[in-house]
């Protein structure tokens, strides 16, 4: 999947995300923040998966399943384009 973020999103250091376009706000937990930053810097899904497994004590199955769910959420919230 291609992940193109809106340029109107700003995230603070503690995971508070502001969408300048809609005025909506969000909170991301630490794992969510890491993934968001990686997506923003143009990393691909496979690279993000690897990064999660290097940084965290998590199995590939769990990380893959959680990433898929996180992408589905971002898409439903209109924060990434398909």
């Amino acid at each position: 999947m291609s992940e193109i973020f809106s340029s109107e999103l700003t995230m603070s250091k503690n995971g508070f995300l502001f969408d300048h376009g809609s005025g909506l706000t969000y909170t991301l937990n630490t794992t969510g923040q890491l993934i968001f930053n990686l997506l923003e810097s143009g990393k691909k899904s496979t690279q993000i998966l690897e990064k999660l497994m290097t940084e965290f004590d998590v199995t590939e199955d769990t990380a893959r399943k959680d990433l898929d769910d996180f992408y589905r959420q971002l898409k439903e919230l209109g924060l990434i384009d398909q």
């Binding site: 937990n29 969510g32 940084e55 769990t62 990380a63 769910d69 959420q73 439903e76 919230l77």
Partner: protein, 454 residues
């Protein structure tokens, strides 16, 4: 380098779970221990789902309620409403505290007698009592509250058979709430209650010794109880003057709320559920103004169920799956269905996480594990991330969920009681043999077995 501990990634749009004028957001503090034991270990040993009774808390609920009423109306007796949860262990604990039994069927009556409750400590209520059940109740000295004219007739017949005048109570109702509880007893405002008492007294075979009212279920407005108590006092005053009735007891029934939030309530039960002292404070002083002197106050019966057993019992469940619904909402499926949590039709139960999943919560729909679309345990709950295999604890599930449970698709869970650091199984998990023990397959229906082997 040691890896960091992992939490499922989440993003939550800010729209729920914030402080507002109706109260604070739900807590997400993990509940790793229950009744002093690790939730994980309890499930490991007794399976999931699992009901857990905290015996100390049950005793405290009883003592607190009895204290609240008996200090304000000394001749108070508490009769436990069996239908709320008639597990023998629970009834036994309450009886050991001094509770009488309030039963509404021959089956429940039999449970009480089997627990060696004497007949004269049993109150027999309800709209459907058979002649055999009534015979046993009167013979054993139980208090019987009559619900309708058919029952009056049956009891008059019994008085003839037994060759003596039988003491009875009369259940009355009033226009107190919406919808009104007119199903049970005789209405006071319409004059039916007076007619019934007059009819009974003039028959000469029964003698009215008590008045019984039960204003509803989960009644968190204490004013309704105040109105009911005032109604009883004026009705007693009237039948005493007109018919010479002298009451030995009045029975205020049950219906007292517990700390569970109703589906349609906008405020948490934490704020709306009255204390037992608030109930007692409106009921007792009004009744003490009744038409009696210092030595002949009628006994006051109260029949709590929910207010005693709801809070001391929790359920442990396990997450079996989760999914993303169209629209982005998260769905979580747990291994307990509405067949063992029937009160989901009334309550927005709290689902407490057991593992530490951070403080970020997400709007979640909680599904039961039944293969049935209506098996929804909560439409909307703010839950942190959870994963398959993790547990959720649902506090305050002791009222009705066990006695109204039905066996469906899965076997029903075990019930354990934790008492002074010891665990007792008070109901074992069902087995297939137990579920099918009343069934038979006639021989004629078994031919497929041999034919299918051909």
């Amino acid at each position: 380098m040691e890896k960091k501990s992992y939490v499922k990634p989440t993003i939550v749009r800010h729209s729920i779970g914030v402080m507002n004028k109706y109260g604070r957001p739900p807590a997400t503090v993990p509940m790793s221990r229950l009744a002093g034991f690790s939730v994980k270990e309890l499930v490991g040993q007794y399976g999931s789902p699992l009901y857990v009774l905290e015996v100390d808390q049950l005793r405290q609920q009883y003592r607190n309620l009895f204290r609240a009423f008996s200090t304000r109306y000394p001749a108070t007796r508490v009769a436990y409403s069996y239908k709320t949860n008639y597990l023998k262990a629970i009834c036994s604990i309450l009886h050991s505290e001094g509770a009488w039994a309030e039963v509404v069927s021959g089956f429940e009556y039999d449970i009480a007698r089997n627990l060696e409750m004497p007949g004269d400590k049993i109150i027999f209520n309800g709209p459907y009592k058979t002649r055999e059940e009534l015979t046993r109740a009167f013979t054993e000295g139980a208090m019987v509250n009559l619900d309708n004219y058919d029952e009056i007739q049956v009891c008059e017949g019994l008085a003839d058979d037994l060759g003596k005048k039988l003491p009875v109570g009369v259940r009355v109702n009033m226009d107190l709430n919406n919808p009104p509880w007119h199903k049970f007893g005789f209405n006071i405002e319409a004059g039916h209650a007076y007619e019934a008492v007059k009819r009974i007294q003039t028959g000469g075979k029964l003698d009215v010794r008590g008045l019984h009212i039960h204003v509803g279920t989960y009644v968190d407005d204490v004013n309704i109880y105040a109105a009911a108590a005032r109604g009883l006092v004026s009705f007693y005053t009237y039948i005493k003057e007109q018919l010479g009735v002298k009451l030995e007891y009045w029975d205020m029934g049950g219906g007292y709320a517990s700390h569970n939030t109703l589906n349609w309530a906008w405020q948490s039960a934490e704020y709306t559920c009255p204390t037992v002292d608030q109930y007692a404070e409106v009921i007792c002083p009004i009744l003490l103004n009744g038409p009696f002197g210092s030595g002949d106050a009628p006994k006051l019966f109260i029949e709590p169920g929910r207010a005693l057993v709801d809070e001391p019992i929790s359920m442990i469940t396990t997450v079996v799956a989760q999914k993303r619904l169209p629209g982005g909402k998260r769905g979580v499926i747990v291994d307990a269905g509405m067949n063992v949590l029937s009160s989901v039709q009334w309550y927005n139960y709290n689902f407490q996480t057991v593992q530490d999943s951070g403080v970020t919560v997400e709007d979640t729909i909680l599904y039961g594990g039944l293969c049935m679309n209506i098996d929804v345990l909560r439409q909307s709950a703010a839950l942190p991330p959870v994963r398959r295999g993790e547990h959720l604890v649902i506090p305050h599930v002791g009222a009705y969920n066990l006695s109204q449970s039905w066996q469906f698709i899965y076997l029903r869970p075990a019930v354990i009681a934790v008492d002074d650091g010891k665990i007792h199984v008070i109901k074992a998990r069902e087995t297939r043999d137990y579920v099918q023990q009343m069934e038979q397959v006639p021989e004629d229906f078994q031919t497929y077995r041999s034919e299918s082997r051909k």
